[in-house]
């Protein structure tokens, strides 16, 4: 019979080591919560004067209001299958009581597909209607007394109507603007252009985006974009909504550029602007019980050897901890010092 060899017993002072190792392992395995979204940019510059929209309501009321037809139209396509094709005509959605539209004999549900109207340069022009925005542009271009010849479809029968445009007495309500923040690839804050700004830039109401914030390290700043620039087009496409600019930024290739059409102090300029991405940095190092380092946005913390030595710093104060309980602290005082002139 072979005597069974027992494993050597650990010397007494080393007995707690396995438990300690296990503790270290557990501490190392304990996962800290990771941020699910990037932090706000630290160097974002947003001038206070640009926080609110310009007070241009008086100027808006002086703008040419265009004509009034009392006809509200919408997309004529009525099914998803039809949405795959080009629209043909616009559908009369609503008619204002006693309006020129009613006087012309139009009814809700009529399909307007062609209009003959006075041309801005004189004479008359024929316009095929497909998108509701065309009708709004037509109203803006018309004057009181202009006569429109409408061709429309009602229950499969083609008809014509004469509509005499009236002066618009009640102007459209002011649309509230919005601010959009793009901090992933450009570091820019945008505001939707007011109607005054948009129309001055040759856009319809709601179009265009005004730069009201720029990060100090934004690639657009280096490319020549300035505060209060009005972006009127991106990659040759007119900006119908400020969100379209954010979409274009996000959708550009990794190393792509954008062609911006900008209106600055009434002058049109073209700029090619690059895009960027978020920098990466080491934010924490943990070696259980031996070393610990964490860096936040406004503070950093270092701890050594079971916490024997600890250091915490912010931009205004510091604290050193020795042997767990002895602490020294310092930082900025509440007074200024005299300096040599």
């Amino acid at each position: 019979m072979v005597p069974r060899q027992l494993p050597p017993r650990l010397p007494r002072p080393l007995a707690p080591l396995p438990a300690l190792s296990l503790l270290c392992l557990l501490a190392a395995c304990a996962s800290t919560e990771l941020a699910s979204e990037p932090p706000p940019l630290a160097a974002m510059e947003e001038p206070l004067a640009l926080r609110s929209e310009p007070d241009d309501e008086a100027r808006r009321l002086e703008l040419e209001p265009g004509g009034f037809t009392g006809v509200y139209v919408k997309d004529a396509r009525s099914s998803l299958d039809a949405m795959l094709g080009e629209p043909q005509g616009v559908l009369v959605e609503r008619l204002v009581e006693n309006s020129p539209g009613v006087a012309a004999g139009l009814e809700e549900g009529d399909l307007l597909f062609e209009v003959e109207a006075p041309a801005p340069e004189g004479g008359r022009r024929t316009l095929e209607l497909a998108w509701p925005s065309q009708w709004r542009e037509l109203e803006l271009a018309c004057r009181a007394g202009d006569e429109l010849l409408l061709r429309y479809d009602r229950a499969g029968a083609e008809r014509t109507a004469h509509l005499r445009v009236q002066a618009r007495l009640v102007r459209a309500a002011r649309e509230p603007g919005e601010r959009l923040r793009e901090e992933q690839r450009t570091g820019v804050v945008l505001r939707s252009a007011t109607e005054v700004e948009a129309r001055a830039a040759g856009l319809g109401p709601g179009g265009g985006a005004v730069v009201v914030g720029l990060s100090l390290d934004s690639p657009w700043r280096a490319a020549g974009v300035r505060f209060e620039d009005l972006v009127r087009s991106v990659d040759g496409r007119e900006l119908a909504h400020s969100a379209a600019l954010v979409d274009a930024i996000r959708g550009a290739p990794e190393d792509g550029e954008l062609e911006l059409g900008i209106v600055r102090a009434g002058e049109g300029i073209e700029l090619t602007v690059p895009l960027s991405r978020r920098a990466r940095e080491l934010k924490s190092v943990h070696i259980p019980l031996v070393f610990r380092y964490e860096r936040g946005r406004e503070s950093s913390e270092t701890s050594l050897l079971f916490g024997l030595l600890g250091l915490r710093r912010t931009s205004a104060a510091w604290q050193v901890r020795l042997l767990w309980v002895i602490t020294f602290g310092g930082g900025d005082a509440d007074r200024l010092i005299e300096v040599e002139g």
């Binding site: 998803l80 299958d81 969100a243």
Partner: protein, 531 residues
């Protein structure tokens, strides 16, 4: 003893103080005004603009108009309550909508379902190229609801685990799974690879499934309703007064599918519960499924007409014991007991005794591995990992057995309800609840919401969202106290809402805790919890 009491009191005080400090920063609220004339119906969270943050997507309808639904998108990059949403007015043939990344464009798209096809709406495309047909299908709901198109959130999911969103479309008697494939540089995604899964018919399918609402389109999902159905009935007058004759009745249905890993091969399999059986379709290489189920197992408690009257009945399929294989949990009223009580029957997965054969989750005799008895009716129950250990705890909301007497006597304007959380210990529920909390709910047309949101404070324990009064919403902090869990009385976060507001607790991409969306009369309130 006195020292212990003092320590407990100090801990309680510390907890209260911590809760007070967190109150201000724990919930970030965004108010979104609805466009005039619209009323909100549904809400989803999805990252449409690919900025890593969830955008708010709301389904709405025009007040007083039929077939006039819209989808509104508030981008997370927009600041302030006055931000204008991106708006898509749906055509009258849209039955349902959801959100998914179904096109190579950056971010997600809106997915629209008509009776015959699935379409994508690309928010960033130019006006003439916004709509794309994805594929043709025979959608279960063949007639749109005139009041509103509904959100089919479960229609988009990654079935084959390749990181691309696939579509799961309910069809009469089954589903169509359209797998997304993207070729490098291709302008559009390809949904040509499709699997059709058919549920074997049962004689009892028609029991109690008569048409209830003409032309209605609704999804009844969740733990209790396991059937998606579409019903139409046309009736006319007969000579006998008050006895309308049914001219046409159509009922189409498909069980609500559940995607879980049945056999531990890290692929999602499809499960469905019919009246008498549990059907399992196993996923094979390349997202392949058979048309017929790979296994059908007789339920130990059939969901027949008798059980439909059992207020406590529900069934769920999930991994209870952490072995990555699916287990089955069935709640059923105990018909043999004299007092009202509910049983939870847990059938834990085991390896099949025959290599290569599918195991019967219920065994030969339908005997559960674990049985838990709860007093009273279980109004609703779900399984949530409340302590971050990877195992799902049981959360049951019960009402006292004398509920009906309370309602009849109308002695009080409120009824008492209780919430219990049972800890999951290796797949078996603890005999005693880890958390027990009583709340009162007013007796009127009001649906309370009491649900765990996930860990908001960073202590690994979930927090409880409570709306037990029509005009009040609260977030209560849960903490461990000895062996038990308790809820701090002082809310971590508290807000008011309109009494008629509808509550949605939604999971945002990349976030652990659920987010709160309140649909009010003229605005939408979005609250993100966490720091």
């Amino acid at each position: 003893m006195r020292t212990r009491a003092a320590v407990v009191a100090l801990l309680a005080l510390a907890g209260e103080a911590r809760a007070a400090a967190l109150q201000a920063s724990i919930g970030r609220t965004a108010l979104r005004d609805l466009p005039p004339g619209l009323a909100a119906d549904e809400a989803l969270l999805a990252d449409l603009d690919r900025d890593g943050r969830a955008d708010l997507v709301v389904g709405a309808h025009a007040r007083g108009k039929d077939y006039a639904s819209s989808v509104l998108v508030w981008s997370s990059v927009a600041e302030g309550g006055q931000a204008r949403p991106l708006r898509l007015d749906l055509t009258p043939d849209v039955v349902a909508w959801t959100v998914g990344d179904v096109h190579p464009d950056p971010g997600a798209e809106l997915v629209l379902f008509s009776a015959t096809s699935a379409f994508a709406w690309r928010p960033t495309a130019s006006e003439g190229q916004r709509f794309v047909r994805l594929f043709s299908c025979d959608f279960l709901w063949q007639i749109p609801d005139p009041d509103a198109a509904f959100a089919l959130e479960q229609g988009v999911l990654d079935v084959d685990g390749d990181g691309l969103d696939d579509l799961l479309v309910p069809e009469p008697g089954g589903w169509r799974i359209a797998l997304q494939r993207r070729a490098q540089g291709a302008p559009e995604a390809d949904f040509g690879l499709q699997r059709v899964l058919r549920v074997p018919p049962e004689d009892s399918d028609w029991e109690g499934l008569g048409p209830e609402t003409a032309g209605a389109a609704a999804v009844s999902g969740g733990s209790r309703g396991s059937t998606m159905r579409f019903a139409v009935e046309l009736s006319g007058e007969t000579e006998e007064a008050g006895a309308p004759a049914t001219l046409l009745a159509i009922v189409e249905s498909a069980p609500a599918p559940r995607l879980v890993d049945w056999d531990g091969d890290k692929r999602a399999d499809v499960l469905a519960q019919s009246v008498e059986q549990l059907h399992v379709w196993l996923q094979r290489e390349g997202g392949a499924f058979g048309e017929r189920p790979d296994g059908s197992f007789r339920l130990p408690v059939a969901a027949d007409r008798k059980r439909r009257l059992d207020a406590s009945y529900s069934a769920d399929a999930l991994d209870l014991d952490g072995d990555r294989r699916c287990d089955v949990a069935i709640f059923a009223g105990d018909t043999r007991a004299e007092e009202v009580r509910t049983q939870l029957l847990s059938f834990l997965s085991r390896a099949s005794p025959v290599p290569g054969a599918m195991r019967n989750p219920f065994g030969e005799r339908g005997v559960p591995q674990d049985l838990l008895v709860l007093a009273g009716f279980v109004a609703s129950a779900d399984f949530d990992d409340l302590d971050g250990d990877g195992l799902s705890e049981l959360v049951a909301r019960t009402v006292r057995p004398d509920l009906i007497d309370q309602l009849r006597s109308a002695a009080s304007e409120t009824i008492d309800a209780e919430l219990f959380a049972y800890r999951n210990i290796a797949g078996r529920m603890a005999r005693r609840p880890q958390l027990s909390w009583r709340y009162t709910v007013p007796i009127k047309a009001f649906m309370p919401t009491v649900r765990f949101l996930g860990d908001v404070t960073g202590d690994r324990l979930s927090e409880l969202f409570v709306r037990d009064q029509p005009g009040r919403v609260q977030l209560l902090m849960m903490r461990a106290q000895g062996e038990a869990w308790t809820l701090l009385e002082r809310p971590l976060w508290e807000g008011t809402c309109e009494p008629e507001a509808r509550v949605f607790l939604l999971r945002a991409p990349g976030r652990t805790a659920l987010e709160l969306v309140l649909l009010e009369d003229a605005r939408v309130v979005h609250v993100r919890f966490g720091r």
